[in-house]
Homo-oligomer: 334 residues x 2
DNA sequence: CTGTTAGCGCTTTCAC
DNA sequence: GTGAAAGCGCTAACAG
């Protein structure tokens, strides 16, 4: 499992003719006479020595490992989040332990325990199960979106409220009169609930009669959307709405397909704005899936890492909201 | 950075009123009197004790960590691969260290060094840079697709040759007469090169004149595809091909959009079969992006883990090819 | 500055 | 069976 006889610091010390501590000092950048430093460096090279991470970890009680708990990497949003988290951690010399917990709270708890026992130095969680009470105290952690009982857990999210308002404003600007809102969500409260609040607020502000679909944990989403469509048809076959603000790009895209199947044109008959900013094939160059309110995933990730690593020094903000942007993606008139 | 005072084995021993070694034996399933075993288990529970990975790693020279090196997680194929790798590792009690190396050989080498430093127990690599010579010897490793100089490195891939033949056979079966092949690829040799070989073989077998686009590392893929299209137009505006076997779903989808922009109908005028089996939003329920030869990503991942973990006991096969399947995805007549 | 030394938490002899 | 004790390779505190 490991090369048979990796050289140790002792070997290096012997080879260089100095003491163990001297080698350690060279390795850790602690001042040492130039002569010895050269000897040690030479010995390190000739023996092809590398520090043993376990020994160092045991001594230092730190692993430079951060656990990221997300449902999966197949969903493009989570995938992008993981990607940027890895990049941000790497920049700080930290490594990423990936945990995909897709509806398996046991697995999340497992990883939480890992953290509690000095195997990882911190946790970044984007999770939709009820693990609040398992979060170890006094452990660096930062949570994306989700709201747990313990209010001292720092949270990061996009400015969902402002994003929802922006979506409605854009729809109105592009000529919509009756934007509806559609949403399928989990039972767990999070910052993204503010998208609905933002929609309602914007409706009131602009004198629109709110009309929305808001279901929890539905398994028949396309069927539900078709039913919604049916109930919003006028006798002449036209629709009594002309804009859709979808809680996610995923559902916006799904609705777009259903609308088109039923013969409605997007964006001519119905304009759609989603939320997230998903790209085709996860590739910015290939453009967005639909018009959308884009979350700044790269900055969210960097901010997570920033807040996580700053926890040793100072108390982090309990909530950080990052601004979102509208981006055209073919489902709006523009 | 770490909880102040995680309980140690010593604490457990004291709590249970037994010796240190006894606790260790219980933990490692070494026979111990039933009475002591119960006492120890009780103490472990009450203290919420967990073994310290670093101490164990130092002693055992293993970490239960496997590094996965992939370009990124944003590409749906890599994302799915990472997802299934994590699942397969987790089943075996192994953890996943994620490295996204997107065109950064230094980063890959960095992770390779980690491995040499006993920080991870093995490596799974899906990489497109030239790191062959940095791969530490005597370290468990398995490589997806790529072919390195060192032939003893076990490789895993889909049966690309058979998949290519299958693609052509399907196109012919669905009425194509002139299937072309399009491909953009990196300079690094890998098993997926067999897709081209399979195409050529099938052409010969079925008496088709081969016609393909095969470019290395192009940055203007859509432009190149448009040019290809232009050169394959008959004077009357029809195309002199009626089927496309695309090296990846990504390029198949790109070509589909270009064809449609130019007024050709898919699949009526041109049928397209890609390779990979990418799903919309990474979600099997939402169906495929285009008709495709699907790689069995879940099984590939499991096989990687299997081969990696079996390396201690026996020499693994140097190449493992898994079978692929055709799946309808809207771009073929069926 | 340098060398010596005491552990970090665990596994594993080794006597009992 | 059990407990005591010797390290695994490293860092940091200490005396020189």
């Amino acid at each position: 499992m490991t090369s048979k006889k990796a050289p140790t610091m002792k070997d290096v010390a012997r080879e260089a003719g100095v003491a163990l501590g001297t080698v350690s000092k060279v390795l850790n950048g602690i001042p040492v006479s130039e002569k010895n430093k050269l000897k040690v460096e030479e010995a390190i090279r000739s023996l092809n020595y590398e520090v043993n991470t376990y020994a160092r970890g045991l001594k230092m009680q730190k692993s430079n490992l951060i656990a990221l708990i997300i449902p999966n990497t197949t969903n493009p949003f989570f995938a992008a989040f993981a990607y940027y988290i890895e990049a941000a951690l790497y920049k700080k010399g930290l490594r990423l332990l990936l945990c995909c917990a897709d509806g398996m709270p046991e697995k999340e708890i497992d990883y939480l325990n890992l953290a509690a026992n000095n195997k990882v130095d911190g946790i970044i969680a984007l999770t939709y199960s009820d693990i609040g009470s398992y979060i170890p105290e006094h452990l660096p952690i930062v949570v994306f979106d989700r709201f747990f009982e313990n209010p001292s857990i720092p949270r990061i999210a996009s400015d969902n409220f402002a994003g929802a308002c922006l979506a409605i404003e854009k729809l109105l600007e592009f000529g919509c009169r009756h934007p509806v809102y559609i949403r399928f969500h989990s039972v767990f409260p999070g910052e993204s609930d503010k998208r609905k609040e933002g929609y309602l607020y914007a409706c009131e502000k602009y004198g629109i009669e709110p009309d929305y679909l808001d279901l929890v944990d539905s398994n028949y989403e396309p069927a539900v959307l078709k039913e919604f469509l049916k109930q919003h048809k006028n006798p002449d076959g036209t629709l009594n709405f002309d804009g859709v603000f979808a809680h996610t790009d995923y559902h916006g895209y799904m609705f777009k397909n259903i609308l088109q199947e039923e013969g409605y044109r997007v964006p001519e008959d119905v304009q759609i704005i989603g939320f997230d900013g998903i790209n085709l094939f996860g590739n910015r160059e290939d453009g967005p899936v639909i018009s959308s309110i884009c979350q700044p995933i790269d900055r969210l990730a960097e901010q997570c890492v920033e807040i996580l690593t700053s926890q040793k020094d100072s108390l982090p903000p309990s909530l950080t909201l990052l601004p979102v942007k509208y981006r055209y993606g073919g489902t709006t008139r523009e």
